[in-house]
């Protein structure tokens, strides 16, 4: 038997099979599904709570931004929810998925079997990161979608009054909401890159998840200390709430673009660190 003849001379130049398999692993995993469920529950809780406590026509005060606007327009359920999940719930979910990525395979021992398939270490890392990115996107869009639907069901919908005071049609409001969700997902890409790197450092997925989550919280804590003002612009969480600028008319692009650039820098730095660690590490689990 000559095995050489029965194998294609060259591998398929591009194959999405491994990526699809990875997405299946991420999204079929019960724990990751529960995390999505928790995220989706936030808009439900917010919408229902406001519906039962606030008589229509009056405005709730206090609480997160946009909360007061909900009774006037259901679209603000989605925006309030994104604001609420951004500091903790969303980063936590991303930390779980990104922390799991490489360390999870290492702890099971499946990492060595992927490498001998062979999957190049660079490709493995790319597919793992892509899986985490898709999870970020799905998570942010899910919160936005559930918020929009529930808002439309429980509250009036119509022209949206933006932060700049001008009013745009509901459809334009939805486009802005989509932009906000995409921006939030993009911000999580930076955290996912950090999680990916941490995940290459250990064979314990729990340790990687916890470390990533702690980093996400620490970044926000440092950002809130006035004495550390100079540090703020370098922190990845500093730009997370810049999505407010997308709700002005015209859109103020400077803040969000700075957020995207800093996030890109984080992705680049931690992606490179993850790569250099991954391509040199001994896989002896």
């Amino acid at each position: 038997m000559s095995a050489v003849e029965t194998l294609p001379a060259r591998p398929a130049p591009v194959s999405t099979r491994f990526l699809r398999s990875e997405l299946g692993m991420v999204f079929r995993r019960r724990r990751n599904q529960v995390l999505l469920l928790v995220l989706a529950a936030i808009p439900v809780i917010i919408a229902v709570a406001i519906k039962v406590t606030t008589p229509t026509g009056t405005e709730a005060d206090g609480g997160p931004p946009f909360l007061f606007s909900i009774t006037g327009n259901g679209i603000f359920v989605a925006l309030t929810s994104l604001t609420v999940v951004l500091p903790l719930f969303l980063p936590l979910a991303i930390a779980v998925v990104a922390g799991e990525s490489v360390a999870g395979e290492a702890s099971l021992g499946t990492l060595r079997y992927l490498l001998v398939v062979p999957v190049s270490r660079t490709r493995l890392l790319a597919v793992k990161y892509a899986g985490a990115l898709v999870y970020c996107l799905v998570a942010a869009l899910l919160v936005a979608a559930v918020g929009t639907v529930l808002g439309a069901l429980l509250f009036p919908v119509g022209p949206v009054t933006l932060l700049s005071g001008s009013t745009v049609p509901y459809s334009t409001g939805l486009v802005r909401l989509l932009l906000v969700a995409l921006y939030v997902a993009a911000m999580m890409a930076g955290l996912a890159a950090i999680g990916l790197f941490v995940s290459t450092l250990t064979e314990s997925p729990i340790a990687a998840m916890a470390t990533t989550a702690v980093l996400a919280v620490t970044s926000q804590v440092l950002d809130s200390v006035p004495q550390l003002d100079w540090l703020g612009p370098f922190l990845f969480s500093h730009y997370w709430l810049n999505f407010g600028d997308l709700l002005r008319d015209p859109v103020a692009t400077e803040g969000p673009i700075r957020g995207l650039l800093v996030t890109a820098a984080y992705v680049l730095v931690f992606g490179s660190l993850a790569w250099s660690r991954m391509t040199t590490k001994d896989v002896s689990s």
């Binding site: 038997m1 294609p8 398929a12 499946t110 002896s284």
Partner: protein, 323 residues
């Protein structure tokens, strides 16, 4: 004009050309300072079933990890299927099936889904034939009936079989099987042996590690023996047997006299039986000496050394943990 090549030009060392695996001074020192593999020169001939033997902790798995490019050697180099590693990993590894340090799969996926996951990771695998190849591999290791069970619910033996199935998803030129019979019952061990024999008959080279000589003795054409990180012997089975000299065994009513007349080192007395390693003495002369001394010999046999003897001799304390 006719060009005649000098005869010497054709005499390339056979090991270089035919070896499916070669290592040169391959060494691994772990970060803790532990020297797990102490510079070994392994040569696994093409088409052989190479028994890679040694006690637990003697460095077999570490060697295999280095061969497959999972860990970087501290020094030394190696080739797989004639190509330098790890440089040629992308071209060579598709032709290599491997089981390293036991099977590892996702516990919540079925056996079948686990194989599908491995297959999906393989850029060379044809998705159209995936189902057939997966079923074929499961069938070959006798797991077809349990294919849809979760891996979590598999017994150790079933897990080991699934690991072998993963190595057989594609046609291979080389199989590297690290303790494939670990955890299998005698029936399963026999089946794996038969499977390996069948693959070898198809021309696949098999590097088979084990700490149990008896489990691999019957299928191996070659053996390499590891002891405390060193490759203390390698060669064909016969070559290895030849390194240890035969023993004489005498049955006599006067063992004490026999021991005196034998003139061989370290005679072993067990009731009426006396045995000793023959060394370079001729058995005829030994018998003549016994008769001459008037030792009542009832039976006199010369037995070739068993492989077990060879291993005990090579690994000193026998198959205990080393390192």
């Amino acid at each position: 004009m006719t060009i005649t090549l000098p005869a010497a030009a054709a005499a390339v060392p056979t090991v270089e050309v035919d070896a499916a695996v070669t290592t040169s001074g391959l060494e691994k020192r772990f970060r803790g300072g532990q020297l797990a593999v102490a510079g070994i020169d392994l040569a696994v001939p093409h088409g052989s079933v190479f028994g890679f033997l040694g006690p637990n902790g003697s460095g077999k798995t570490t060697t295999i990890r280095m061969l497959l490019g999972l860990i970087a050697p501290t020094s030394g180099s190696h080739t797989l299927l004639g190509r330098p590693m790890p440089g040629a990993a992308a071209e060579v590894l598709p032709l290599v099936g491997a089981l390293v340090e036991g099977p590892a799969f996702h516990p919540y996926l079925s056996g079948r889904d686990n194989l599908a996951r491995v297959d999906a990771a393989d850029r060379r695998a044809d998705p159209r034939t995936a189902a057939a190849r997966i079923d074929g591999a499961l069938d070959r290791v006798g797991l077809a009936a349990a294919a849809r069970k979760r891996y979590r619910a598999y017994s150790l033996g079933m897990r080991q079989r699934l690991g072998i199935a993963a190595a057989l998803l594609q046609p291979r030129e080389l199989l590297v099987l690290d303790e494939p019979t670990n955890g299998l019952d005698p029936q399963g061990t026999r089946e794996v042996r038969t499977l390996i024999q069948g693959l070898a008959d198809e021309g696949v080279t098999v590097l088979l590690s084990s700490h149990l000589l008896s489990e691999v003795e019957q299928v191996c054409t070659h053996v390499g023996v590891m002891h405390a990180g060193r490759l203390v012997a390698q060669g064909t089975m016969d070559e290895l047997r030849g390194t240890q000299s035969a023993r004489v065994r005498i049955e006599t009513t006067d063992p004490a006299a026999a021991v005196r007349a034998l003139g061989l080192p370290d005679p072993h007395v067990d009731g009426r039986h006396v045995s000793a390693v023959l060394g370079d003495r001729e058995p005829e002369k030994v018998l003549a000496a016994l008769v001459h001394a008037g030792v009542p010999v009832r039976q006199f046999t010369v037995a070739a050394a068993g492989l077990e003897d060879v291993f005990v001799a090579l690994t000193g304390e026998g198959f205990d943990v080393s390192g």
